[in-house]
């Protein structure tokens, strides 16, 4: 049940993300598609949220520190009813509430403005500390990118999170192996990434980031470990599910039209039909 329903939801989100960026003609497709399974598990299974009351006291929080993956998150938020579905087709057009990078002021359901890489984790630590002061037992989630992990501020925040034992903070690294200038390990290697976080006194797991059962299980395990913040490294594929994007070194911010998007969507539908 879990697998079938959530798989269907992930497929919808992936297709919608392709459609809205394809309609616009350009966008951060690679890093949007690599986090679809994570967003699906968080928003459709794990998070305590209310689309009609995005600021609900004691809710769970999610900071998309790799703010350029906003389009995938917007598809989730629209589907859940945080804002009208029609907004999705305004992505990155003048006056939109859905800009390229996440904006807490403009978009209902966005918990933090991000886009200058490296800043989301610090904010997440602050949110977690505030929840502790207020005595909430909610969870605060954050997703950073693999290229983003090269930003020094992450490691400042890593120390602060561990020092203050923010065990209600669960972070994910979308390790899709690619960044703008090439393969992450060629541009500025971050391996062994799990050892880095472990040495900063974080509780660390590493899993297949496209396997939703594995993501859900890892969250369950993290929630059972107290005294340390949690990092779940997601091994993912940049551009996952779209043949024109997967493995394409230019898939960070890509120009493609709606026809290309529709072909990818059709291929996803065909594959999903085969699976059933």
């Amino acid at each position: 049940m879990f697998d079938t329903d959530l798989s269907h939801k992930a497929l919808e989100i992936r297709k919608k993300t392709l459609e809205i960026i394809g309609k616009l003609g350009v966008g951060h497709i690679g890093g949007s598609l690599s986090v679809v399974e994570l967003l699906t598990v968080l928003y459709y299974k794990r998070m305590k949220i209310d689309p009609l009351n995005p600021g609900m006291e004691g809710r769970d929080w999610f900071v998309l520190s790799k703010g350029h993956a906003g389009p995938a998150l917007y598809c989730v938020l629209a589907d859940l009813g945080f804002f009208p579905e029609e907004w999705l087709l305004t992505l990155n057009t003048g006056g939109t509430n859905l800009p390229s990078h996440c904006d807490r002021v403009r978009t209902p359901g966005i918990d933090m403005s991000t886009g200058s890489l490296g800043q989301g984790l610090s904010a997440t630590v602050g949110i977690t500390l505030a929840q502790r002061i207020d005595g909430h037992d909610n969870w605060v989630y954050v997703c950073i990118g693999d290229g983003e992990s090269q930003e020094g501020q992450n490691w400042e925040a890593a120390m602060t999170a561990a020092h203050y034992k923010t065990d209600r903070l669960i972070a994910f690294t979308d390790f899709n192996k690619m960044q703008i200038d090439g393969l992450t390990e060629d541009v500025m290697g971050i391996e062994k990434i799990e050892d880095k976080w472990a040495s900063f006194n974080w509780h660390v797991q590493r899993i297949d980031g496209h396997n939703m059962v594995a993501i859900d299980d890892a969250i369950e395990i993290a929630q059972g470990v107290s005294g340390r913040p949690h990092m779940i490294i997601l091994d993912t594929i940049k551009g996952k599910g779209a043949a024109f994007a997967e493995g394409n070194p230019g898939n960070h911010n890509m120009v493609f039209d709606i026809k290309t998007a529709r072909e990818a969507i059709d291929a996803l539908d065909a594959k999903s039909g085969e699976a059933i």
Binding site: G115, A157, M159, T160
Partner: protein
């Protein structure tokens, strides 16, 4: 009392009434003098170690979740070091992060050029809608801090740390965005920003008075938004204005005054007392005042030169 003690004492009074008040430090708790706050409110005080960028980001997160954070460091770090974090995580995100840059300008003393921030207020002026303040005495600091805390958006507070004085009476009222005309004359306007310069500017006004020159003295208090009407009304009256700042003449008070004068078409001549586009250096206060041209004598000379130009014009 030291301005830093006014800062801590006032925030403790605020914190007692408002449990949203939280403090952050980056290994300068003893310099800022906030240890008593930590002792009184240990759950609302966070020292993040030497990581100012993280401090501002954590403060932004605390604000996003409903707290009212004050985060302090030396002004050089609280501006240059954290500009992008303060810009995006705090200001673009429309959060209430109160960032405190201590030891403005020459008050960095023996920390010297690496720490002597003549540029912090200037770069902060470029952040949209940010309020930039430097209280000029203990009373203005005490009275402005509650307003800063409850202003719904971010503020950059330039804080003189060691030493203090009470210029204003305890019943004086203050408002973010409003300056004070603290002395009235008719011949020239002296506009001052911050504690060091207000003391020198008042001395200069006394010296000028002895020479028969009557000066308007304005204590700006808020650099951004500048109290435009106050400055323009005085400039229209006197036709001559000297800006006095413990900051580079670029992008600080002198620039702000020039902008409003030019935009309004007020025919007033302006001269700018301040750091003349130089890097800081180590020294005692008297040496630094002299070296960077910030003394009452410098202000008097500049004012007299302006008056001389007016007479010959």
């Amino acid at each position: 009392m030291d301005m830093r003690d006014v800062y801590t004492e006032t925030l403790m009074e605020l914190a007692d009434k408002d449990d949203r008040i939280v403090l952050l430090e980056a290994d300068l708790m003893n310099a800022t003098g906030t240890r008593p706050f930590k002792a009184a409110y240990p759950d609302r005080f966070f020292d993040v170690g030497v990581s100012e960028a993280d401090m501002v980001g954590v403060a932004a997160g605390l604000s996003a979740a409903g707290k009212i954070p004050f985060a302090a460091s030396f002004g050089c770090f609280a501006s240059r070091r954290v500009y992008d974090q303060f810009f995006l995580s705090a200001n673009y995100a429309q959060l209430n992060v109160n960032l405190v840059g201590t030891d403005p300008g020459i008050t960095a003393l023996f920390n010297g050029g690496t720490h002597m921030t003549f540029e912090d207020a200037g770069i902060m002026r470029n952040i949209p809608q940010l309020r930039v303040l430097e209280p000029s005495d203990e009373v203005s600091l005490r009275k402005l801090l509650p307003q800063i805390a409850h202003w719904p958006r971010s503020v950059y507070l330039r804080l003189h740390r060691k030493g203090g004085w009470s210029f204003y009476s305890e019943d004086e009222t203050f408002e973010i965005g409003k300056g004070k005309l603290i002395r009235e004359g008719s011949d020239i306007t002296l506009a001052s920003f911050g504690m060091v310069m207000l003391q020198e500017t008042l001395k200069a006004a006394d010296l000028l008075e002895k020479k028969g020159i009557h000066a308007d003295v304005i204590d700006v208090l808020t650099l951004k938004p500048l109290d435009r009407e106050l400055v323009l009304a005085s400039a229209r009256k006197t036709g001559l204005i000297v800006s006095c700042e413990n900051h580079n003449i670029y992008n600080g008070l002198g620039s702000a005054v020039a902008e409003v004068l030019a935009e309004d078409g007020v025919p007033a001549r302006l001269r700018r007392i301040g750091c003349q586009d130089k890097f800081g250096e180590v020294g005692k206060i008297d040496y630094l005042m002299e070296t960077f041209g910030l003394t009452a004598a410098h202000i008097v000379d500049t004012a007299e030169a302006l008056i001389g130009m007016k007479k010959t014009a």
